[in-house]
Amino acid sequence: MSDSTHTGPMLAADGTPLKRSLRRALRAQKMRALALIAPLLIFVLLTFIAPIVDMLFRSVENQIVGNTLPMTVEELRDWDATEVPDEQVFRALFFDLFLAAEAKEHTKLGSRLNYEKSGISSLFRTSGRDMNDIGEVFQDALEEIDPAFEEASTWVEMMSGGARAEPNARLMSNQIARLEALEATTFSGDAEFLPGAAISDILPNTARAYAAFAAFTQFVDGKSVTKEEPWEAVYAALALDLEDPATKTAIASYAGPGADNLRQAAAATLPPIAMRDAFFESNKDWANVTFWETIKTYSPPYTTGYFLNAVDMEKTPQGIALRSEDERIYGILFQRTMFMSLMITFSCVALGYPVAWILANLPTRTANLLMILVLLPFWTSLLVRTSAWKVMLQQQGVINDVLVWLGLVADESRLVMINNQFGTIVAMTHILLPFMILPMYSVMQTIPPSYLRAAKSLGANNWTAFWRVYFPQSVPGIGAGSILVFILAIGYYITPEIVGGTTGTFISNRIAYHISSSLNWGLAAALGTILLAVVLILYWAYDKIVGIDNVKLG
């Protein structure tokens, strides 16, 4: 029985089991620690991690095609990509493009697809303008048959099916959701208009087009659907519905509001619906099958297209292929970025090591003075230092002038030292040198000078003492400096832009171009993702070879 006190849990002073009480105390401590770092953590998450993740996501995101042309994409699913699509596809395209043009989203899609195929941009821009004209034919015809079709109230009553009609709420919420996707926002509040269930069975296209119009009028324009005449697309949709003999029969026995107007329209002859021809007339490029291939290829919501582009490849109907020789650029730039960053890192080690060694071995007073010389350029603007190198290195620059004056170089054959790789390497080595010297210096400071003396007293000559005793201890400083310099160098773009010419530019210059000029953010994101992956792989390799534990900043 006395054993039970031993086998039972150990108790704290207040009688709770010790384990639990300990855990509680620890948890409180952990929470306190977490609360202390929380501001930083939240700050980093919100301002650093989240934007990066968002940007990286853009490298595969391609929802714009499906959001702008949902019905066309649906119709194209079974298209075999051999000849220009049929009338059915063009009808879907008309309604999609009409709404997109009203929302001013069609040119964004045009620009997006133009990255893949030149000419699509103007195809969407010019045809977007013509959508009203295509629909107007039907509007005029219907209003001619029955002037009541000009009235906003006729339409609201007819499409809602009267005050007590059963509404088709699903159709309306679908159209609102579609508009939200198109405009990339969310709308709040209830729909003012709901289409009637009966009328949307009889006139499916009209009900859909009118619901889209009503959603746009209420949520985007902020107007009341009861006061606005419908879009031309709604009239076209009605003409489309009336094309079907079954609709005419259904209308004959329909008794809801507007039934008389509909019967009148059904009895009359409407202009033929030939959307395919209308589009060809708007822009002959719609008859070009390669444009349709591009639309189909890029219709899924996610794409590998940007990544393929970033490695000089492209999607073709025959599959993935290398781009033609005259369009390959990113492979060269990635290689060049790696090569030059390595060159810059080595130059920094070669130049920085002796400086750090001197700094570490001088009396503190002198070392501090020299340290200021290292730090002074560090505090000078990057642009100033880069431009200064221009003055130094250009053909009419200081160095060439001195060489000519000394007679080392003839006046006609001044050296080309800028606007090429050499200029970039020189300028960047200078700019990044402090990042190499500082970690080396702080590591070297911790190496006791007595080790070298001990090595010498044991018979080593100067070189052996340095190489076998001093150097291995300074390696962690070289490692830290190299990682810093290399990773900074790989992402530089201002200096290469100014002094790099054509052969000294980096991949980051293209990323900057795609972010700010061509606005191809997807491609910029893909290039950035690849660059990030390369850096992580190199870091991993570095860890395997040198070991990250061997890196010291001091």
Partner: protein
């Protein structure tokens, strides 16, 4: 959100259009985006400072972001927070912003001042209103300047854009902008393509190859620039013999700094610069901007700007009012790209064509540069 914004914008429009706007309805500060440098200074002196003097209590802040205006406006729009009130952009950017709904459509006659003789604003600006959102300010051109002291002895100074491609006659380095626009056209023109066929030829793969081959003949001798200030600097240092840049930059190197540089106006490439108002501004800020625009784009103000920089005013009615340089006292008219003597052979660059082909040609051009 969007609904309220639109509602506010529409009310603001009616308010701004009417005459009953009181100063209380307007915001007291504006953020104006421009290019920095001498051009921004000319805008500041010609219309922003006079406006601020006439409206005490109002402040204007400059943001020198016009080069990335489209990218930044798109990002602001995605974030739902527009911090700019008025943005200075080139014509092609204004078309892109207008197409995407990022810039507000302008009713030029309703919102802007008429010419002194009563000509409506839209007639006064004429063809220069290249998009519904665009309020033109100036006509500028990309053209060449050369060092007068580096012209080989016994040779005529260059008089044609094709002299840029003639290394035998005019040896020495050239500077060209690091982009295909203008350079490809000049190359084809000098390769014997008729001016009105340039874009047809450039639209084919062979045409692109032909243009690049022509540029290839001088590739070794070209310094490629990306900022407008580079060519004047390179010319001043004697680094290059001839180089392209914006004509106002060359004017300032020649007239204000007295460098031994002369202009080559042949086949200068015309372009426009003007204001756009970001879409979705709150009512009070919009009212202030429209009030400023009515003043800042009138005939006299645009003519005043020409006293500080050699860019042609966009209003036809401003041309006769162009006077002398504010500090140097020289006549400005002969330095305008639009002056008949300078505009005898100009290149009109096709915005629509480049909007379609820019991505493709830029890839080819950059790939050609990197090889």
């Amino acid at each position: 959100m969007k609904l309220t914004k639109t509602l506010l914008a529409t009310t603001a429009l009616t308010v701004a259009a009417g005459t009953a706007v009181t100063a209380q309805d307007m915001a007291n500060s504006m953020t104006i985006v421009s290019w920095g440098g001498a051009y921004q200074a000319s805008q500041d002196k010609a219309y922003v400072q006079p406006y601020l003097a006439a409206n005490p209590g109002v402040t204007a802040t400059w943001d020198e972001s016009s080069a990335e205006a489209v990218a930044k406006l798109r990002a602001m729009n995605e974030a739902g927070n527009i911090t700019w009130d008025l943005v200075d952009v080139v014509a092609s950017d204004s078309m892109r912003l207008c197409d995407e709904g990022l810039a507000m459509e302008i009713d030029h006659d309703e919102m802007l001042a008429a010419a002194p003789d009563g000509t409506s604003a839209s007639d006064d600006f004429g063809d220069l209103i290249v998009s519904d959102c665009f309020i033109p300010q100036i006509v500028y051109s990309t053209t060449f300047g050369y060092r007068t002291d580096m012209v080989p002895a016994g040779t005529e100074p260059p008089s044609s854009v094709c002299d840029v491609f003639d290394l035998a006659k005019y040896p020495g380095k050239r500077s060209l902008q690091k982009r295909p626009i203008d350079n490809m056209e000049w190359a084809l023109y000098c390769d014997g393509v008729a001016k009105d066929e340039i874009y047809d030829v450039l639209g084919t793969d062979e045409g692109v190859e032909r243009a690049l081959a022509k540029l290839g003949t001088i590739k070794d001798q070209v310094v490629w620039w990306s900022a407008g200030a580079e060519t004047p600097q390179l010319l001043a240092d004697g680094e290059v013999f001839i180089g392209s840049t914006f004509n106002g930059r060359l004017f300032s190197a020649i007239a204000e700094q007295g460098q031994p540089i002369a202009m080559l106006w042949d086949m200068q490439s015309f372009d426009l610069d003007g204001w756009i108002v970001p879409a979705g501004l709150p009512a009070d800020r919009l009212a202030r901007v429209m009030d400023f625009l009515k003043f800042g784009t009138d005939t006299q103000r645009l003519a005043d700007q020409a006293a500080y920089i050699s860019y042609g005013p966009a209003r036809a009615s401003s041309a006769p009012l162009v006077g002398k340089h504010a500090e140097l006292g020289i006549d400005m008219a002969p330095h305008m790209p639009t002056d008949p003597a300078n505009a005898s052979n100009v290149h009109i660059y096709d915005y629509e064509w480049w909007a379609d082909n820019r991505d493709d040609l830029d890839a080819k051009f950059q790939s050609w540069l990197a090889q």
